[in-house]
Structures are given as C-alpha cells and as structure tokens.
Symmetry: C2
Subunit: 521 residues, 2 copies
Amino acid sequence: MNLTGNLLIGATDVLATEGSMQALNPATNEWLEPSFAFGGAAQVEQAATLADAAFDSYSHTSLTERAAFLETIADNLDAVRAELAARAALETGLPQAQLEGEAGKAATQFRQFADVVRRGRFLQLAIDPAQPERQPRPRMDHRLQKIAIGPVAIFGASNFPIAYSVAGGDTASALAAGATVVLKAHNAHPGASEIQARAIRKALQQHGLHEGVFAMLRGSGNAIGEALVDHPLIKAVTFTGSEAGGMALYRRAQLRPEPIPVFSEMTSVNPTFILPQALAARGAPIGDGFIERMLVNVGQACLCPSILIAIKGPGFAELRSAMIHRVTAAPARTMLTPGIHGAYVKGLAALQSAGADPVAVGTPADAAFEGHAALLEVDGQRLLAEPALAHEVFGPSALLVTVSDEEELLAVARALRGQLSAAMHLEDADLALARRLLPILERRTGRIVVNAFAHPQEVTFATVHGGPFPATTDSRFTSVGMSAIERFLRPVAYQGFPDALLPPVLRDGNPLNVPRSIDGQ
Amino acid sequence: MNLTGNLLIGATDVLATEGSMQALNPATNEWLEPSFAFGGAAQVEQAATLADAAFDSYSHTSLTERAAFLETIADNLDAVRAELAARAALETGLPQAQLEGEAGKAATQFRQFADVVRRGRFLQLAIDPAQPERQPRPRMDHRLQKIAIGPVAIFGASNFPIAYSVAGGDTASALAAGATVVLKAHNAHPGASEIQARAIRKALQQHGLHEGVFAMLRGSGNAIGEALVDHPLIKAVTFTGSEAGGMALYRRAQLRPEPIPVFSEMTSVNPTFILPQALAARGAPIGDGFIERMLVNVGQACLCPSILIAIKGPGFAELRSAMIHRVTAAPARTMLTPGIHGAYVKGLAALQSAGADPVAVGTPADAAFEGHAALLEVDGQRLLAEPALAHEVFGPSALLVTVSDEEELLAVARALRGQLSAAMHLEDADLALARRLLPILERRTGRIVVNAFAHPQEVTFATVHGGPFPATTDSRFTSVGMSAIERFLRPVAYQGFPDALLPPVLRDGNPLNVPRSIDGQ
C-alpha cells in the first residue's frame, strides 16, 4: 500500500491544512517517509458532520449487514497484516512478529463483534405485552431495544499500535453498536494508522455504506482532540492513555453545554499479592513469572504487573532473588517514543525520591530511546506513608513491597487506588486470607486473577478491562471484551406501536429470531 | 407515627445542628408541626462513613436475603400508607387518594425489585470456561458478575413525594443493586420523608442489617447536597428535578478529584405529534385527552405532555377547540411550593415574551399558590426561530404548535432537545410520515408512545425513563423500570478462581440456580 499521509474524511483524502509530521523510528532515531498531514477544527467539523449524516442509515443497518461489514474489515486487516506489522515495527520499535500477532488479534476482535452483532443479545430486547383486561386500567404493549448513542470520537492509543489503535477494540465495539466513528490517530504510528484506516474505509465501500461511518484525523498538539471532544455532534468519547491525557479530555467533555460520556482507560499498577503458602511453595517461579510479564511490550502496557506485595517469610528470599535475576538479565529495549522514554527515566527517579530502593537493573541502554529494566523495593509502612509510590511508572520497572504481616498486606491493599486488575497467588491453605483480601480487591479492581498474571488478557464475554477511578473514568464499563459495546448503547422504549412501525427485531413473531425477554423472563 | 423531625443516621436520631424548618401547607399557607432538623457537613461525614462501613456486608448479602429486606420495606410502607398519604397531602396540596395510590406504587416497586434481585439476571453472570488444550496457550476460566458501585447519594424529588422521593425508585433500585444509600430529603415534604425513612430503617432492623445501609439527611440551602456530592466515599449520585439543580450537581461531581457518575433526570416537554389522518379522524378526543394528561399532578410531572404539534388541516379546528374547552374548564389547583408556583407564573410570561399567544386560561386562582391552567399557541416558524419556546414550563400549561406541512413538522422535531418521551397519534394512512418521524424521535427521546400519552407510566422491564440531554445527564440509563438498577452496578471478572473462593452465584454447578451465560450463550 502506498502511504499518502492524508487524512481520511468520508471518501475523500484530505491534504494537510495545519502542517505535517514524519514518523520517528525510535530504534534508529531516524525519520520515516512520507509526511503525514495535520488537520484542525475545519476537518473536525467536516468529519463530525459526515458522521452525523451517516448515523441514521448506519445505525439502522440490519444485524446481518452490520456483521458482514465487520467481517470484511477483519478480512481487509488480514490482507495487509504483514505490511501493517512491518510499518508498525518501524514506527514503534516493537518486534514485527509480536505486531503480526496483534494484527491478527485485531482482526479477530472484529469477527468476535460480528458474532455479537449477529446474535443480537446486545440489543437487550425486552417485551412487556399488553394486558387489555388489567384493572383499573389496561396495560399497553411496551418493547425495548438498545440503539447506538450517536457519532463517537475515539482516540487511538500509542502502546498497542493496532489492537488499541485505529482498528482496535474501541472502533470494533463502536461500529458493532451502530455508532459512527471519528478517530483521532496517535502520532506515534501514523503509517500503521493509515493502513488500518484504509482497511476500514475499503470495507465501507465494499458494502456500499455511507462514507461518513468512519473518518481518521490527525493533528499537532491537543487542539484537534479538543475540537473533537467539543463538537456538539459527537455523543461519546473513548481514550486509552495517560491519566493526565484521559482526565483532560474527560473534564473538557463534562464542561460542554451538553456533557457526554467519556470512557478514559488510564492507569493501573496491577498489584500482585503473594499469599504466604504460595510464597513458601513457589517463591522463585512466581518472582520469575512476574518479571517476565512485567517486561512484555517493554512494560508499556495497561496490564503491566508493576507492584508485587509479599509478606516476609519462607520463600521470600527465593522470590526476591528470582526477580533480581530476571531483571538483571533483561536487555534494554527500544521504547515507543522519546516522550515515553523520557517519562520512564523521570518516573524511576521519582520512585527513588519517594523512598524506593533500587535493587536491580537490566542491561544498560546503548541507544537513545532504550529503556532498561528496573526493580525497586520498599516496605509496606513506607508505601502507606507515601501513596505516590503506588502510582504507575509506564515502562519496564517493578516495585517489590515487603509487608510484615497479614494486617499490613490488607492495609496496603486498602491504600491502593482503582485498578484494572489485581492478582493473588495462593495455595489452599491461603484461602482464609484470600477471603479477607477479596472484598478489598473487588472494590478496587475490574478483574481479579488467581495464580496467574494480568497479562495476557483474553477477549471474551467475561472480560473486564475497566475498574474504579483512576483506572478508568467510569467503573460501570469495560473497553475490552464483548461488553465493551455497552459504552455506545442507550435504551429506547416503544409503547403501543403497530407492528409495521416497530423496528424489525421487535416485531411480533420474532421474524429475525433474536433473543428477547418477555415480562423479564 | 410521631414525627420527630430528626435526621436518621444509622440507628441514631440526630437533632438539628444547623437550624430547622417547618413544612408549609401550600393549600392554606400555614406552617405545619413539628420542626425538622437541618444538618451540615458533619452529618454528611457521619452518614457517608457509615454507608461505607456497611457496604461490604450489605453488598454481599445473598439474593434471597436482599429480596426479603426489600419486601419488608414494601410491607412497612403498606402499614403506614394512610398516614403517609395524609401527611404528604398536607405538605404538597396533592389529593390524598392520589397519594395513597402513589404509596402503593412505591411499595410495589420495592416488591418488583425484590423479584429482580431473586431472579438474579441483573448480575449478568457470564462464564467463559477454561480451555486447557487450546493452542498456542491454554485459556483460563473467566467468570463475570456485576457488583454494586459503592455508597450512593440520592436526592429526593419534590413533585412525587413518595414514588420519586425517600422510598422511590432510586432508593429501591440502589438497595436492590447492593448499594448503600445516603438520601438527601426534599424540604417540600419533610414529614412524608420521615415516615418513609422510618419504614426503611425499621426493615433494616428487622433483618439485622448494618445500620449504615440507609440514612436520611436534610439541610438548609445547597450546602448539604454539595457536601454529599463532594464526599470521597460517595460513588454515584441520582437526582430528579430542575435542569439548573441537576446540572449543578452533575458539574460539581465531575470536578471532584475522583469524578463519579451522576444520573440527573431533569427536563422534558414530551412532545406529541398529531399526524394528519389521526387529526382528521380524532382531533377532538386527542385534544381533550392531551389536556387531561397535561393537568395530572397540576402539570408538575416529568412526563407532563406540554407541547402538541399538528399540521393545519382537517380536524385541526376540533383539536384546538377541545383543548381550549378543557383548559377553560380546569379549576386552578394548589401547586407544590411557593417557589414552584412563582416559577410557573414567570415561565408563562416568558413564553409570551418569546412570542407564544395565550389562547385559553382555566379558572383563576383564589389562593396564594394555586396555578391556573393555560394554553398558548405558536406557529412552527416561530418555534424554529426561538428555541426557548420549546423549554419546559413546570406546571399546568400547554403549547400548541401549528405547522404548515410535513416538512415543517419534521423540522420542528429535529429542533427539539433531548426528551424523556415523545408521542405520535396516527392512523394506518399516517405510517409513511411516521416512518420519517421515528428516527428523529429515536435520537431525541427515551420512550416513544403511539396513540396515547406519556402519562401514566408503566414500571416494567421495558420501561425507559431516560433520554438524551437535557432530559438526563446520561442517555444510557433509566431511572424508572427494572433497568434502573444498572446505574449502580459495575462488572468484576474472576479469573482462575478455585471454586471455594468464587462468589456463590458463580460457583460450579450453579448452586443458586441463577441465569448464567456460558461463552455468550
């Protein structure tokens, strides 16, 4: 595919209006061709207007038609998989094989959401039939379906340049819901973004859908994102990235004359608790496995396990030395962007200033934007006194928190902010302590893992990639898994409708054979 | 029941700390005994701390236990029904018979939510079983349930002193979800509030539940509500009332360090479209029925049909004269509070200043806070030029909007803000126009009614009492009907759990026999 560097708005390729950029290869610190266009408020206006114009027809596509469209996107992604992974590797410094896997996962997500659409359960169809004989007055027929909330703004993330970017789960779930999408591409991987956006636009054309269903914008600085969040035709926003970025968008959207939902997925240290019997039985493999997972994606992952909490006792020395060994052996690796690399270096220094002791470092960097692995440690009392120690440092570092007893372990758990995930490593003899820890974790996390790590994540029906603030801005939703579609749906009730006027999925006799509850059954 | 006028915090009756008030009988303009206590930030702290302390035990009650508690509340409400209705009548000027009905409806809601709890569908249990043989890596077992979001602040409404107040749908659905509740009572009916709060507290004691599950506060001015919304232990807010009040709470909650969801249900004119064939066939009864429903509760209802849109043509004269006739015949009736009465008088004047012509008035008031019925009219072009004409005037007034053709009718529909409901009156020959109007209404309303009016509302599974802004602050939820519980629930995933550590509803073999989806089926 020839990269043009243009914005994609409707069927039109839009040239730069506010300057342009080139992608940086962070491994070589060299600029990549071609130039990529920046747009501004005028392009936001154009894309949002088209997204609004496309909404009525797209949101009313049949389940079959919409599912087929999503599958075509998946096919189109498969067709460019190698090229996409190669370009993404150049732009991110991540291994091409890993990125091919990520591209495959992105295509799979579109197929999974096609399946969700076809099954129709997400419509949450409910019928409360008329009761003409009811006293003192008859009950009318009521029928409920969920419909899309409106045109949606999606901000591509930097760290997974496919699965959380242009063709990521946000786009897949929004399109599955029947929402139209204006995507703001991340500047860290503009070429990979264009390849994905073209795969989506091509599918729109293959299915003869309205050109406004999907657009991809790009801009310099924050202005284009702000214009997008401010636009009155945009009805919801999703974001994956830093706490500062996610909160800026969230607060801005809440100050609109018409506030709109913003699902920002922001920060998590994914605390991992090693209960005493598990520590005694498996200290070394747990420590080794923890660091192995921490190093995935050079630690640049929302699910990076960053804090390990263990009670000093049998197995602790083995755990600690396995962590040290694996960190020490880890090669420095290229980080996604100079900015992320700089923030990582600063974050490590901040942990030390806050009282964490450096225990081990990996092979030092020998290129500009390589991040070295790091292990720090702190005792529970210090962590309780200095909550900043439990804030995320985005990159390949881990904090080992040593607590003196069960009460201190529970106190550390209670001091944690909201998290995407937490893990407990336990043996049967640890169950009593686990039962005390569990309600604390339930109130603070979206997912609790036993005897494994938050990474890797399954994308299934029971997946939750969400959690209390500041993990996300709304703990009632998830951005990964089949329930991610719920962020973009709202209920509408139809009362006393003649059959011919009802949406087809709600008509008498269930002609489309979609699951429906009748009087709640 | 002896009214004490105290705040109810935990098992304790708390005396006034910030002055006190008496209830006004708006029909006689006389103060009622006794004095009712005002609290302040210290009482918010006390109630929120107790609600947080109660959360773990209450949110983990079994479905059976929680359902039985809700049913006891219903029984306790039934036991005080006559007394409650009598006191509410004194405090609101509403008819006692209507208020007995409302008390019965409130009790029914608790029983309905008890049924929802027992069935367990709201938990949205999902299991994705382990796949140990899967390649390239095994899949772990994942299980999802929904749990309560945390302690919730509920603001009682003024206009339905029972069904949208202390023992209203917000409280019923929050308690059903497993959330603990700090309720801020409305000062318009403090005695009725106390009777309801005592019914809830008594049920807590009958079931031996934690005293912090429910508290009722009251305060002078906005300070206590602000302290409640600001409190870090409060995790969600619901409000029913004016747009100004609802937005003030919403914006305040979004400025917290940790923003929280606020469901404010605020304003709706419930536009009613009369399509040409229905107008020709049934102009007079439609006009009469519209005004009849407009007058319910002296027009002080979120679902009050306030705007009627019709194309000039056959049947229009009959429609208009039926509306005039019914308005002219309507006696002035006591409004809820002096403030609401004053705002109604000002709202009518504002409609006229904006260009609406007065067409008919009901019997003039002969007491201080009586509101007279009013019918105004305007043409479609004027409404399109002056959007303020389509804003709600809370009280017994209606606006007749005359449009010249179908295109102008659709243009008026497009110009409307978000609504709780809309209605279409139609005959079979109107279906083509209805099909053009429907998608416009779907994007702007939570409920669409055919050949009836928004009032009365069924409380069922397919009920939606929600809608796009400014009808509510989040169109994805409803505050009435069985789905109202969703506002207070968040998903948690359990991965790789030993059976003994799983929540009982998620254990192998489904010992509690609750509906669960397996791999999405």
